[in-house]
């Protein structure tokens, strides 16, 4: 045990109010476990947005389709990293695949993840890009030609029949993908919702609340990325697309806050033995991150902004700005949602008699710096993906040019 860790525990002990079991002074799931559901939520949300275009034929959001797919991939690649870094024995992580305990919700992670990555995302992206890859390759030289040849797996056929098959395949995978995306994030909710020992987590609504917050976060992230990349490429933003995204974001927010409200009212009304300590939790330790950041700044604020901007006669320029700020606030709100679930659920004692504290370290394996790194990494991967697989339609003829424009 490091002296820093001991000092941290002593600081936490000094902040304990009421009674906590002696083993509960140490908070076990740190900020890294906050990041994990945040990332998978973005993956599921971005994919569901992409599916809207393909399966439900929402043509307005077509400019964001590929963007959303690549965003989902970039974030999915990073999603298991915080889990890995958090383990007491990271070198034994593979045991989850080799000898999974069938009764453990967590043991299923590897399979859900592998299914989603291999069967859904990679396949869909491959079929979506295959014909383009072949076409790009023909006009390229050097490294990019090789990269595109590798990514296309040597495929050559661009006949109308082959392209028609691609479209069909994408359609089919998307249809499989929607329940898979629900599974991916609903499952993360289940990991928390099924812990009967923890009254803050234990709720049958948890997977559903997770899912809708995922959709909220995914739409807002794709909106942000579409906005920023268009600015960087000096391209005109498609206002129809932005308006539709804003509408979807608003509807998802309404469902999300309704579910949260239902959960809250249900708990309050049932008034079980845990209600007093949870009340104390909400009004002391979580007041800032729950009431102020999650509910006011992260949900109600953006809802009002979106509703106002979407259904008023403001000039497009102003509307865009409001959408952008609202989406940014939604991200902050969703991150604090994850924080309030994961950290909040560990701040009170299972004796229901007291509260403990969480002090975020700066350095160290589970510190702020590692956390920030894990939040930045998906964007770096996304930039790389944009280079290899430019998601913009105008790039179909010259991907290098548009990639160069981006950077």
């Amino acid at each position: 045990m490091t002296p820093e860790h001991l000092a941290q525990l002593e600081a936490a002990l000094a902040q304990v109010s009421g009674f906590v079991y002696p083993n509960e002074v140490e908070l076990h799931w740190s900020i890294l476990i906050v990041i994990y559901p945040y990332l998978t939520g973005l993956v599921a949300g971005a994919f569901i947005l992409a599916s809207l275009e393909r399966v439900f034929n929402v043509k307005e959001i077509q400019p964001t389709y590929r963007l959303a797919l690549l965003t989902a991939l970039a974030f999915l690649i990073v999603a298991p990293m915080p889990l890995q870094a958090h383990l007491g024995h990271p070198e034994r992580a593979f045991e989850i695949f080799l000898t999974p305990n069938p009764s453990s919700a967590m043991a299923m992670f590897g399979f859900v993840y592998a299914w989603y990555l291999m069967v859904v995302l990679l396949l869909e992206i491959w079929f979506e890009y295959r014909a383009d890859l072949v076409r790009w390759r023909q006009n390229e030289k050097g490294v990019m030609k090789l990269v595109h040849w590798l990514v296309s797996l040597g495929s050559r056929d661009v006949s109308p029949a082959a392209c028609a098959f691609d479209r069909k395949a994408v359609q089919f995978i998307t249809i499989v993908g929607i329940p898979s995306a629900f599974l991916l994030h609903g499952y993360v909710g289940f990991i928390f919702g099924s812990v009967k020992a923890n009254p803050w987590w234990s709720s049958v609504l948890m997977p559903i609340v997770f899912l809708f917050s995922a959709i909220v976060s995914g739409i807002s992230l794709v909106l942000l990325i579409y906005y920023v990349t268009s600015l960087m490429r000096r391209k005109e933003l498609d206002m129809k697309c932005l308006n539709t995204l804003a509408s979807f974001l608003l509807y998802a927010l309404i469902i999300d806050i309704s579910l949260e409200a239902l959960d809250f009212i249900h708990r309050l009304y049932e008034s079980e033995e845990s209600i007093e300590i949870l009340e104390r939790l909400i009004f002391t330790k979580l007041f800032l991150s729950l009431t102020i950041v999650q509910i006011l700044i992260g949900t109600i604020g953006p809802m009002v902004m979106l509703a106002f901007a979407r259904f008023s006669a403001l000039p497009d320029e102003l509307k865009r700005m409001i959408y952008f700020i609202a989406a940014l606030l939604v991200q902050v709100g969703i991150f604090s949602t994850r924080w309030n679930v994961v950290i909040g659920g560990q701040l009170f004692s299972k004796s229901l008699r007291g509260l403990t504290a969480y002090k975020l370290e700066l350095g160290g394996q589970e510190g702020l710096l590692v956390a920030l790194g894990l939040l930045v990494l998906p964007f770096l991967i996304l930039a790389l993906l944009f280079k290899i697989l430019p998601p913009w339609k105008d790039a179909e003829t010259s991907p290098e040019q548009s990639a160069a424009q981006l950077t």
């Binding site: 045990m1 860790h5 001991l6 525990l9 002990l13 009674f19 906590v20 079991y21 002696p22 083993n23 509960e24 002074v25 140490e26 076990h28 799931w29 889990l83 958090h86 383990l87 007491g88 024995h89 034994r92 992580a93 045991e95 989850i96 000898t99 999974p100 305990n101 009764s103 453990s104 919700a105 967590m106 043991a107 992670f109 990991i191 812990v195 009967k196 020992a197 923890n198 560990q346 004692s349 299972k350 004796s351 229901l352 008699r353």
Partner: protein
């Protein structure tokens, strides 16, 4: 119809008696020898079902059990890691309840600080409940924590990946992450001792016999007697974990 004895029968029976005595005299030691032999070589876990009883009204809060446990099991000395600990409950006349467990009660308890009128006080030793339906075992992703055949919940140190899901799943706060091994840790009922016929360290040192160790089932153990003579309760029965640590004289305030 009862058998009637004539003189011949009585003489016959009398003759049988010494031979039977001799025979038993021979068989007895052989059986004992044989039994000792198997005990040494082969401990048969399926023949046991360990459990513990705690008599709340006997506990004086001396903390010897906490000390003994830390020493016996190499539990880190820092006050954040406990396989067993003692809680003190102070119920005031106005209905307020105060609970404390300074350093797990390892050095006993300081005098009550408040001047308020006290209704009742008592100590409650806590440890892993070795649940028959253990949530920690259910959630372990790799099966590193398991219920042994003799009814003890154990952790395989060489297998645990340190994900801490079991710590979250335990309703009793009985688990911690051992900072030395970076794996989940908890009470084992002193498995290394009980499988040799010894008592867990906490039971061994308890000066008031507040802790009673034994088995559930036919085997005659001190726990059997306690279970016959007391009204028993378990902690958080609504969790349906089916604990195997049974409390007598447990107060409703204890969670």
């Amino acid at each position: 119809m009862p058998k009637t004895y004539n003189r011949r029968d009585v003489l016959e029976e009398l003759l049988k008696l010494p031979s039977a005595t001799v025979l038993l005299g021979v068989i007895g030691p052989v059986k004992v020898l044989a039994a000792t032999h198997t005990d040494d070589d082969q401990y048969e876990p399926t023949e046991h079902n360990y459990a513990m009883g705690i008599r709340v009204d006997k506990c004086i809060g001396c903390g010897k059990c906490v000390q003994a446990c830390k020493i016996e099991n190499d539990v880190p000395q820092e006050p954040f890691y406990f396989r067993t600990w003692v809680e003190r409950y102070i119920v005031y006349a106005d209905g307020e309840v105060e609970v404390d467990s300074p350093e797990g009660g390892i050095d006993g308890f300081p005098p009550v600080a408040s001047d308020k009128e006290i209704l009742r006080t008592f100590f409650v030793p806590k440890l892993c409940n070795h649940c028959d339906n253990p949530p920690c075992v259910q959630v372990c992703p790799v099966g590193a924590t398991f219920k042994s055949q003799d009814g003890v919940v154990l952790v395989d140190n060489d297998y645990c990946i340190g994900c801490r899901y079991c710590i979250q799943a335990c309703p009793y706060g009985a688990r911690f992450l051992n900072p030395q091994t970076r794996t989940a840790d908890k009470c084992t009922f002193c498995y290394h001792r009980i499988t040799k016929g010894l008592l867990p360290a906490c039971v061994e040192v308890c000066p008031t016999q507040a802790r009673v160790f034994g088995e559930i089932g036919d085997r005659s153990t001190p726990l059997n007697r306690m279970m016959r003579m007391s009204h028993l309760e378990v902690l958080k029965p609504h969790m349906h974990t089916e604990p195997k640590v049974f409390y007598s004289a447990l107060d409703g305030e204890v969670r």
